[in-house]
């Protein structure tokens, strides 16, 4: 394995981890505020579909991105109404959202384009193009740093950079602002927040809305950044992997960055080496693909540190009984 190969694998990891990272941060906001969200998958799917549809119809990827966020937000709102206002079971609401998105995207896609649930291929201004950072070409020949800058850091779509910036932004928002403190408190002990005179409902809605926006970015990235169009069920379980990553990350932003990078890296290695040979042992790609889940189970079982979810997670807040 030479240096170039390592750069290529890392480059691929960055692309693969971006939707996971965005979805993982989305889940982080929601769950830190005490609203479990297994509907990440459905929201990403809806966002991917709306983004691709609007981009295909208007030829403008930015309108597509806005539509993607709107589509995801709409489902977030459904989740919010069901689980915050009406105090329904958050898991069931999440499952319903996944089913709803899965059916609705194909149905609407077939109605609009008649391509069996696909959207047409996007091209030109209907796709996010890769951004060449300044001096990328001049620096390429500098040993070691050159390829890292030119091939690994430069040459991604804008949403990749947005996703990475979201990590410090989330950290700052959660740990350095009043809003963040309240958000975390509402996931641990909503009664105390309520006693302090802050609206639990409003905070939780805010968290669910942020979750919707981030899922929207993730979905739009899948459909208009990584690929060029929507294909039914194209999220292919990434929402659930993001949930696993969230547990792996112990509900922290920097942990999310590390966990999704690890998951992306494992997938990139599995893509590159279907049968990885380490000395006399051959590791099949299935094992590499299963590794994220195995690691999550190990963490959940408490072998490596403990993953403790927000204490009030999953419980609707009832003011007085």
């Amino acid at each position: 394995m030479d240096f170039n190969t390592i750069i290529q694998i890392l480059d691929s990891s960055v692309r693969l981890m971006t939707p996971l990272l965005l979805a993982c941060l989305a889940g982080l906001y929601s769950e830190r505020a005490g609203v479990f969200d297994i509907g990440l998958e459905g929201k990403m799917l809806m966002a991917a579909f709306s983004a691709a549809t609007v981009a295909a119809l208007t030829g403008n990827v930015w309108l597509g991105l806005a539509a993607g966020i709107a589509g995801s937000l709409a489902l977030s709102l459904v989740h919010g109404v069901a689980s915050i206002t009406f105090r329904g079971n958050q898991l069931i609401s999440g499952v319903a959202i996944n089913f709803l998105a899965s059916g609705l995207t194909v149905l609407l896609g077939q109605k609009i384009f008649g391509l069996g649930g696909r959207t047409p291929n996007l091209s030109g201004g209907a796709r996010f193009s890769e951004i060449r950072l300044p001096f990328a070409d001049q620096l390429r020949d500098v040993p070691v740093i050159g390829p890292i800058y030119a091939d690994l850091i430069s040459g991604h779509t804008i949403l990749v950079y947005v996703a990475f910036l979201c990590v410090p932004a989330t950290w700052w928002l959660l740990y350095r602002t009043r809003f963040g403190l309240r958000l975390r408190a509402v996931g641990e002990n909503p009664a105390s927040v309520d006693t302090a005179g802050v609206s639990v409902t409003r905070l939780r809605y805010a968290a669910v809305a942020i979750c919707g926006v981030l899922c929207g970015l993730a979905g739009a990235y899948l459909a208009t950044g990584l690929s060029a169009g929507f294909v039914k069920e194209m999220t292919a379980g990434r929402g659930f992997i993001a949930l696993a990553a969230l547990i792996f990350a112990k509900w922290t932003p920097w942990g999310a960055l590390f966990a999704t990078f690890l998951f992306g890296l494992l997938e990139a290695i599995a893509n590159r080496y279907p049968n990885l040979e380490i000395g006399p042992v051959t590791i099949p790609s299935m094992f590499m693909n299963a590794l994220p889940y195995i690691l999550t189970v190990i963490i959940l079982a408490g072998f490596v540190g403990r993953a403790i979810p927000p204490r009030a997670g999953g419980e609707p807040y009832v003011k007085e009984r």
């Binding site: 691929s12 008649g114 069996g116 696909r118 690929s227 069920e233 379980g237 590159r272």
Partner: protein, 329 residues
């Protein structure tokens, strides 16, 4: 109950009588929909060709949900449509149940074998078509390395892979084929993102022609190949037009011919298994204006030679599904 049964039976009888007077063929499209740019659309073109040539008319039905299959079949059979053609293996089980109830009606199923006395099963020899694609890939590749990306890791897709490798290695014995499968669950059919990443990884390893037999995932493969400046090969329907000048060819199953033949035969459709292979032009490598600049005369000659040899039996393309091994290993 008995009353209901006899009413139903007489309704059926009336239906059959009416049907016998002017038996109209019928075509049922599967869930993908009539204009899916793939399988179902090919069936539609076959039916339209028949309509244009004979001036006849046919009934058609698009499936909207999984639950409609049996109802749709029974309804068409009772209105006297004959033969009834359906696309897709998903009809297999339902047809097996419905066909014995309408012994006078002929059913034609595509891509699946249903053993009933009034059913014609059309199956395609995808391995032979993939062999031809392998020959073309060997001619088009300058690096000597080509790629294959399968959808879900199942024997049927190994059949494509095995045919492709046999063709490629026959033309380039010292060449290399990089093989990837997208996954082991049905999600592997609809993951264009992973398909694109796999294509990029294969390109990084030197592959300059990539064959995708992966359903919706393949769309991502073709896209990534076009973006990265390498050639790709499509599957099932003619996908050359998706990226003109960047898709080397497509391994096409002539679903349209199967429908056309069934319609032309009318109620005299021969029951049994009908195999569409290279010899009968049932599986072809698509040549049209979109890939014309990529196809050299040598390539055409090599494909024609291989076709003739397959037809005469001089070349036998091993079918992976018979013993789950590939001689190219």
């Amino acid at each position: 109950m008995t009353l209901l049964k006899s009413v139903l039976a007489s309704a059926t009888a009336v239906g059959l009588l009416v049907g016998a007077a002017h038996a109209e063929p019928a075509l049922i499209f599967d869930l993908g929909g009539k204009f899916d740019k793939s399988f179902n659309e090919a069936a539609y073109h076959g039916a339209e060709k028949w309509k244009e040539e004979t001036g006849g008319s046919y009934k058609e039905l698009e499936m909207q949900s999984e639950a409609q299959r049996e109802q749709a079949l029974r309804r068409l059979a009772e209105t006297g449509a004959n033969p009834i053609v359906m696309t897709g293996f998903a009809f297999g089980e339902v047809l097996n149940k419905v066909a014995p109830d309408y012994p006078e009606t002929k059913f034609v199923i595509i891509d699946m074998v249903v053993e009933q006395p009034n059913v014609q099963s059309n199956v395609f020899n995808e391995g032979e078509g993939s062999y031809l694609a392998g020959i073309m890939a060997a001619q088009a590749s300058t690096s000597g390395t080509v790629g294959f990306i399968g959808g879900m890791d199942i024997p049927l897709i190994h059949k494509f892979e095995c045919g492709y490798r046999q063709g490629f290695l026959a033309a380039k014995p010292d060449g290399k084929v990089i093989i990837n499968y997208t996954g082991t669950t049905p999600a592997a059919w609809n993951d264009p993102v992973k398909g694109g990443e796999l294509a990029k990884a294969q390109k990084a390893q030197g592959a300059d022609v990539i064959y995708a037999a992966a359903g919706g995932t393949g769309i991502g493969v073709l896209q990534a190949a076009a973006d990265e400046g390498v050639l790709s090969i499509g599957v099932d329907s003619n996908q050359n037009h998706l990226h003109p000048g960047k898709v080397l060819t497509s391994v096409v199953k002539r679903v349209d011919s199967a429908v056309y033949d069934a319609f032309t035969a009318g109620d005299a459709v021969e029951p049994g298994i009908k195999v569409w292979d290279v010899k009968s032009d049932g599986v072809i490598v698509a040549m049209d204006e979109n890939n014309a600049p990529l196809v050299t005369p040598e390539m055409t000659a090599a494909v024609d030679e291989a076709k003739a040899k397959i037809a005469s039996g001089e070349i036998v393309v091993h079918d992976y599904m018979t013993d789950n091994t590939c001689p190219a290993d």
